[in-house]
Amino acid sequence: MTVADALLFSAGYNAAVVALGCAAFGLAAGALGCFVLLRGRALIADAAAHATLPGVAGAFILAALIGWDVRALPLLLAGAGATAALGVVLVNALAGGGRIRDDAAMALVLSIGFGIGVVLMSVVQSLPVGGQAGLKGFILGQAAGMSAADAQLVGALAVLALLLVGVLFRPLAALCFDRGFAAAVGLPVRALDLALLGLMLAVTVAGLRAVGLILVVALMVIPAATARLLTERLEAMVPIAGGVGAVSAWVGAALSATLPDLPTGATITLVACALFLAALLFAPRRGALAFAARQAMLSLTVARDHALRAAFEAAERAPGATHRWVELGRGAGWSRWQRAVLPRWLAAAGWVRAEGERIALTDAGLALARDLTRRHRLWEHYMQAAGGLGPWAAHRAADEVEHTLPPEVAREAEAWLRRNDPARLPAEGALPAPGEAPTAPR
């Protein structure tokens, strides 16, 4: 079996059903994860997941003692759900006393619950029945050992959870956005919190077989975090997170089906991490590259504005003056790449033209420079009049804000000056006077 076979459902009926079951779980975990994340419940999900181990092992022992089928997934999952719920109750009880904070309570339930499970697992090893090996799959995930019936159960649980998320979408969104407001408009916030907790437990339990209890939280948190990078709207975030979860689970399960040594949970988590890193780098607005590009563009725009303003102010003193780049950049602290890019950009945009060794503003460049200078001086005056800043501070502050402000804010500043300090404003169409001593130390 190759990875392609496993991905394309052509590795046999069983493998196809398992892949679909995993994908359904990923879809539900990703979608629900958005609410878990926004409600700040990521780590309690982790504690509950670790607390499933005693349930799984306990159910196995119980089944062996009374002679039921120890491999019956519904039974094992029921045990898991029971101790996970108990774990959540214990976190609240421990933290309720006030002496132990909820962070410590979660860490305690997580680790002690897991420890109890580990001891029960060693009891399981001594039982005179078969099937012990499969239990280890619940810790780190083993999709390869799943039967079609197992996968159908997981898929059914996931679909059920997904349907409930769909039905409760609006109220859950209101709960996560602002719990106080949701309560004020009459939503049953306690019931909703419980419902979210119940859904979280159901999805956790559904993921145990494929992803394992240690990493099941990863499939709730990582797809949701990925979606968060790509959108700010919950309506888009939930389907994106579901999609990321489904793809991660499907690809990860296929990978581990062909490389059986790899625990499925780890491969699924790493696939999700790869998608997350891709989003972190390439997300259109919040991605690291977009962020860097925006910063670079901004610093370049600032440098351009400085250069044009310097050229304009020189031309104010001596009309028709030509300039040298060195003079325009004096004191502006341009970096090497800014010095390299700036002349080309300004020439290509038609704002400057070469005159031998020197450059001069074109008509378009002059118009833009005039506009920029006007805006800068307006801000300087506003900062001095309204902000009470000294001249050099006003100059610096104006520099900080003028490049990024939308024009309507500038108009507001102008209106404020007109009302409160009209002497600073020039006649219609003329430029404001330069700020006082704008060349003071910066």
Binding site: I100, M106, A107, I112, G115, T269, L270
Partner: protein, 310 residues
């Protein structure tokens, strides 16, 4: 007696030392409400441990500690970067980073071939106390015999050194750590560098995670870190007593857990030994439950106490 020396002594000492190291340092986490930092670091050091093991090919401590610190610092930086870029809340950013690191560690174990040598997934999950044996022991006299002691398991010796180092650091920085934990702003204002102190705590926690890794694995480390401090917190309101009681609780869970795991199978007629690392956590859970139910500060009794004494 000889059988105890050969099979149990090294493992029991390792369990006790590991719980002591973690339990003492855990106080600093609990008192600053950073217990989940222990959770995150214990997961995140795994790829570092595997890499250190892979590069050096041995279980010698220095490369593993170096790898673990590298991983812990990388994880801390990544968490900070994620929070900056994505505005995730701290818990979620931690969840993304530590589960990713842990998954990477698991996959590295499988692909690096480390599992063929000595380090496998079971060790990550349950520790390897059972592997710590001292076959050179031939009787109580071996405890004084340099030749036999030279064969004593290096893991246990390393843990003893780490424990001494931890005790020395805690004693040396006793008042500085207390000040930094209680009021970091005041500490900074009077020149007692709380940021350096919290870096010291971070380093101590990752060293503790590595040290305890062979004994209890990387999940149960969390119990060793948090449980002793939490038990002591339910019993006392005094800083020094807090450390003392947490040390007692750590010894009780380390040595006691190991003993219960060794004795219970015979007592209950089980054919197979119980997992000692898991039993350490179970004993911790029992102690915690007792302290919570019967201690002066468990449940809600504290409120009544405060109300009556004012």
């Amino acid at each position: 007696m000889t059988q105890f020396l050969q099979l149990d002594l090294a493992a029991m000492l390792a369990a006790t030392f590991a719980c002591l190291v973690c339990g003492l340092i855990g106080n600093l986490l609990l008192l600053t409400r950073q217990s989940l930092l222990g959770d995150a670091i214990s997961h995140a050091v795994l790829p570092g441990i595997v890499l250190g093991f892979w590069v050096s090919g041995s279980r010698a401590a220095p490369p593993l500690v170096a790898g673990a610190m590298l991983a812990a610092v990388a994880a801390a930086l990544l968490i900070a970067l994620l929070r900056r870029l994505t505005r995730l809340e701290a818990g979620a950013a931690m969840g993304v980073v530590f589960s990713g690191f842990f998954a990477l560690g698991i996959v590295l174990i499988e692909v690096s071939g480390a599992h063929a040598v000595d380090l496998d997934v079971d060790c990550v999950l349950y520790g390897q106390l059972e592997a710590l044996i001292w076959p050179a022991a031939s009787g109580p006299g071996s405890l004084l015999d340099p030749a036999a002691l030279a064969e004593f398991p290096a893991e246990t010796t390393t843990l003893a050194v780490v424990l001494l180092l931890t005790l020395a650091l805690l004693a040396a920085f006793w008042k500085e750590l207390r000040l930094a934990c209680f009021d970091p702003d005041f500490a900074q204002a009077i020149g007692f560098a709380p940021r350096r102190m919290s870096l010291l705590v971070l380093v101590l926690v990752s060293v503790a995670c590595v040290a305890a890794f062979w004994a209890v694995g990387s999940i149960l480390v969390i119990a060793a870190l948090v449980a002793p401090a939490a038990i002591a917190r339910l019993l006392t309101d005094d800083y020094a007593t807090q450390f003392g009681l947490s040390a007692v609780a750590a010894v009780a869970m380390g040595a006691g857990g190991y003993w219960v795991a060794a004795l219970a199978p015979a007592a209950f007629g089980l054919g197979h030994g119980l997992n000692a690392a898991g039993m350490i956590a179970v004993v911790a859970g029992v102690l915690l439950a007792v302290a919570w139910a019967a201690g002066p500060f468990g449940r809600r009794r504290r409120l009544a106490l405060a109300g009556g004494s004012d």
